[in-house]
C-alpha cells in the first residue's frame, strides 16, 4: 500500500491571538504514527497556491486520530487555512520528518514564537524532569497547555511577562540546567541555544525550518549546512524535510 494524502476533517479552529490560530483536525493514519517534532504538509484548496504548507505537529492523539496544529498567518496559504471551520476538509500528507529523540534525561525545552507549538507534544511525550522555556515578542499563547506538562519559564521581548529579553535571558535568570536540550524557533535563537549547549557540553537537538517544496526529500529546496559532508548529498548539505527537521546541534551550521 502506497502512502498518499489524507482527507482530514476540521474538528475546531480557534484564534489564539492576532494572527495565530489553533486547529484540530481528524486524520485516519497520521495521528497514530505522529511523533513530537514531526510535521505535516497541508495542501490548499486555492489552486493558485500549489505547494504544501509545512506545519509542525502541536499535539497528536492516537486514540481519536486528532491532530492539533498551531500556526501563524504569514501569507496566502495560511490565510486560507485560518478561514476553515468545523466540518471543512483539508488535504494532508504526513507525518513527515524525523522528530525529536525522546531520552530519559533532565530536559530543557526551548521554544521561540511560532516554534513553540511542537514543544507541547514533546512535553507530553517526555516523562523525565523537564523545564519549558518559551519566548514571545509580547502576547503569549499555549502557556496553560504547556504548564500541564512541566515548569514553564516565560521571556518576552517587551518585558510584559516573565523575563524581559530572550529565552537565553530566562534560562540565566532562573539558573536552569539540563542534561538535554530540545529547541525550536527563529534562527538567531537556535544559534544562541547551540552556542550555550556547546559551552556547557549539553546534548542538544534543534528543529530547523526552511522554504520547502516536496516535503519528502526529493527536490533539495530546504537544505541546511551540515558540519560534515553528508552521506546522502556528498556535500555539506542536509535536507531539513527528510534528514530533519530535528538535528543534533553539532551536526549543523546555523
Amino acid at each position: 500500500m502506497k502512502k498518499t494524502k489524507e482527507q482530514a476533517r476540521v474538528i475546531r479552529q480557534d484564534c489564539l491571538m492576532e494572527g495565530v490560530y489553533s486547529m484540530w483536525i481528524q486524520t485516519q493514519q497520521i495521528a497514530r504514527q505522529a511523533k513530537p517534532g514531526q510535521f505535516l504538509s497541508l495542501f490548499m484548496k486555492d489552486q493558485s497556491s500549489l505547494l504544501p504548507r509545512p506545519i509542525s505537529i502541536c499535539e497528536a492523539e492516537a486514540k481519536t486520530g486528532w491532530i492539533r496544529i498551531v500556526y501563524r498567518v504569514v501569507g496566502r496559504g495560511t490565510r486560507e487555512l485560518s478561514g476553515y471551520g468545523t466540518g471543512d476538509t483539508i488535504s494532508v500528507l504526513g507525518p513527515l520528518g524525523n522528530g525529536f529523540p525522546l531520552k530519559p534525561k533532565k530536559a530543557l525545552l526551548i521554544g521561540g514564537g511560532i516554534g513553540i507549538p511542537p514543544m507541547l507534544e514533546l512535553a507530553k511525550s517526555l516523562h523525565g524532569e523537564k523545564q519549558i522555556v518559551v519566548g514571545y515578542r509580547d502576547q503569549q499563547f499555549l502557556v496553560e497547555d504547556l504548564q500541564a506538562h512541566g515548569a514553564v519559564f516565560i521571556a518576552t521581548e517587551d518585558g510584559s511577562c516573565g523575563t524581559k529579553g530572550t529565552v537565553m535571558d530566562a534560562i540565566r535568570e532562573n539558573n536552569l540546567d539540563a542534561e538535554i536540550i530540545y529547541a525550536c524557533g527563529p534562527t538567531p535563537m537556535l544559534r544562541a541555544v547551540k552556542e550555550y549547549a556547546g559551552q556547557h557540553g549539553i546534548e542538544c537537538y534543534l528543529s530547523l525550518e526552511e522554504r520547502m517544496a516536496c516535503g519528502i526529500g526529493a527536490c533539495l529546496a530546504c537544505v541546511c549546512q551540515s558540519t560534515e559532508i553528508d552521506g546522502h548529498s556528498q556535500v555539506n548539505n542536509k535536507r531539513i524535510c527528510k534528514d530533519g527537521p530535528v538535528f543534533l546541534s553539532t551536526e549543523v551550521e546555523l
Binding site: 504544501p52 537544505v223 548529498s233 556535500v235 548539505n237
Partner: protein
C-alpha cells in the same frame, strides 16, 4: 474492453507509456517510491548529475508564485560516483526506463559524465543545457545554437546511449535551437526547462530567492510550453519530450497532440505525489472515451 497501446518509442527505446518524471523534481525516485509504483512509469528521469558533487545554491532556494513556483536549487547533486553506486542499482530494481540527466560547467564535464555512464545499464541520457540557476555551463550552452550544437556533437561522439538534449525556453527562437541540436546529432529533444523569473518580498525588500533569479515552473507556464513543443516538433524529425506545468491527463494530452512523443511531470509531483500515476490513468481513460487504440495516433495530431 479495447486493448490499448500506450507504448511509445523514443530513439529506439520503448516506453510502456509516455509518462515520465521531470529532472530535478523526483530525485532518483527513492523518496517517491513510497508514494508511486515506479514500475508503472514510462521512465524515471533523474536529477541532474555532474562529474563531482555540487553543493548547489544558498537558501531560500524556492518561492511560490501564482499557479507556479520559482526554484534556484543550483543542481545540487552527489556526483557521478555515488550516483552509479547507489541510484542506478536502486532504479534497476524497477521495470521502468532510466533516463539520466547530465549537467556540467564545461563540455569536458558533460563528456566525462557521459563516458562514465557508457559503462552503466541506463537507457537514455538527457543533457541539461538549460539550467538557469548555475553560473557556468547550463543555460549558456542552451541559448547559443552554435554552442548547443557543439555540446551535442561532442557528447554524441562519446555516448553509448541515445542522447536527449534538454532545451531552454529562454530563447528567441526555439525552432532554431531544436534544429541546431538535431544537426549536432541529438536523438531526441526535451523541453521546456524553466523560464527565468524573479520574485521580490516587498515586506523585507529583498529577493525571495538567495540566487535573486530562479526558474519558473508549474501550471502557470503550460501554455508557453505547449506552444514551444508545437514549434519544436514541427522544426525537427526527432522525437520531442514535452514538459512544463503538466499536472493531469488532459495537460499531458495537450503536449502529445502538440507533437510530444512523451511527457514529463515535474512540479506537480510536489503537490500530488502520485501525479504521474494519475496522469497515466487519465490518458488511458481518454483513449477509451475516444476509442483511440494506439497512443501514437495522437502524437502531433493537432496540426
Amino acid at each position: 474492453m479495447e486493448q490499448l497501446n500506450t507504448s511509445v518509442n523514443l530513439a529506439g527505446v520503448v516506453l510502456k507509456n509516455p509518462v515520465m518524471t521531470a529532472s530535478g523534481t523526483f530525485g532518483s525516485g527513492m523518496e517517491y517510491a513510497e508514494y508511486v509504483d515506479l514500475n508503472q512509469l514510462g521512465a524515471v528521469v533523474t536529477k541532474g548529475v555532474s562529474n563531482v558533487p555540487w553543493p548547489g545554491n544558498p537558501t531560500p532556494r524556492i518561492a511560490e508564485t501564482y499557479g507556479g513556483m520559482l526554484n534556484a536549487i543550483g543542481l545540487q547533486n552527489p556526483g557521478i560516483d555515488l550516483f552509479c553506486q547507489r541510484d542506478i542499482p536502486f532504479l534497476k530494481q524497477y521495470d521502468t526506463k532510466i533516463i539520466v540527466n547530465v549537467c556540467g560547467r564545461s563540455i569536458e564535464d558533460y563528456v566525462e559524465v557521459v563516458e562514465r555512464l557508457g559503462e552503466e545499464d541506463v537507457d537514455l541520457l538527457e543533457i541539461n543545457i538549460s539550467c538557469p540557476n548555475v553560473k557556468a555551463g547550463g543555460i549558456a550552452f542552451g541559448q547559443d545554437p552554435k554552442l548547443a550544437q557543439k555540446v551535442t556533437r561532442e557528447v554524441k561522439a562519446k555516448a553509448k546511449q541515445p542522447v536527449v538534449m534538454k532545451l531552454s525556453p529562454n530563447v528567441t527562437d526555439i525552432a532554431e535551437m531544436a534544429k541546431a541540436v538535431e544537426a549536432g546529432g541529438a536523438d531526441a529533444i526535451s523541453l521546456i526547462n524553466t523560464l527565468t523569473g524573479m520574485k521580490i518580498d516587498v515586506n523585507r525588500r529583498t529577493f525571495a530567492l538567495a540566487n535573486k533569479t530562479g526558474g519558473l515552473s508549474g501550471p502557470a507556464i503550460k501554455p508557453v510550453a505547449v506552444r514551444m513543443v508545437y514549434q519544436a516538433s514541427h522544426a525537427v524529425n526527432i522525437p520531442v519530450i514535452g514538459m512544463g506545468g503538466i499536472q493531469n491527463g488532459e495537460d499531458a494530452l495537450e503536449f502529445i497532440l502538440a507533437g510530444a512523443s512523451a511527457v514529463s511531470i515535474g512540479t506537480a509531483n510536489f503537490y500530488q505525489p502520485d501525479a504521474t500515476i494519475r496522469t497515466i490513468r487519465e490518458i488511458e481513460a481518454y483513449m477509451r472515451k475516444y476509442h483511440v487504440t494506439d497512443i501514437n495516433e495522437l502524437i502531433g495530431a493537432v496540426r
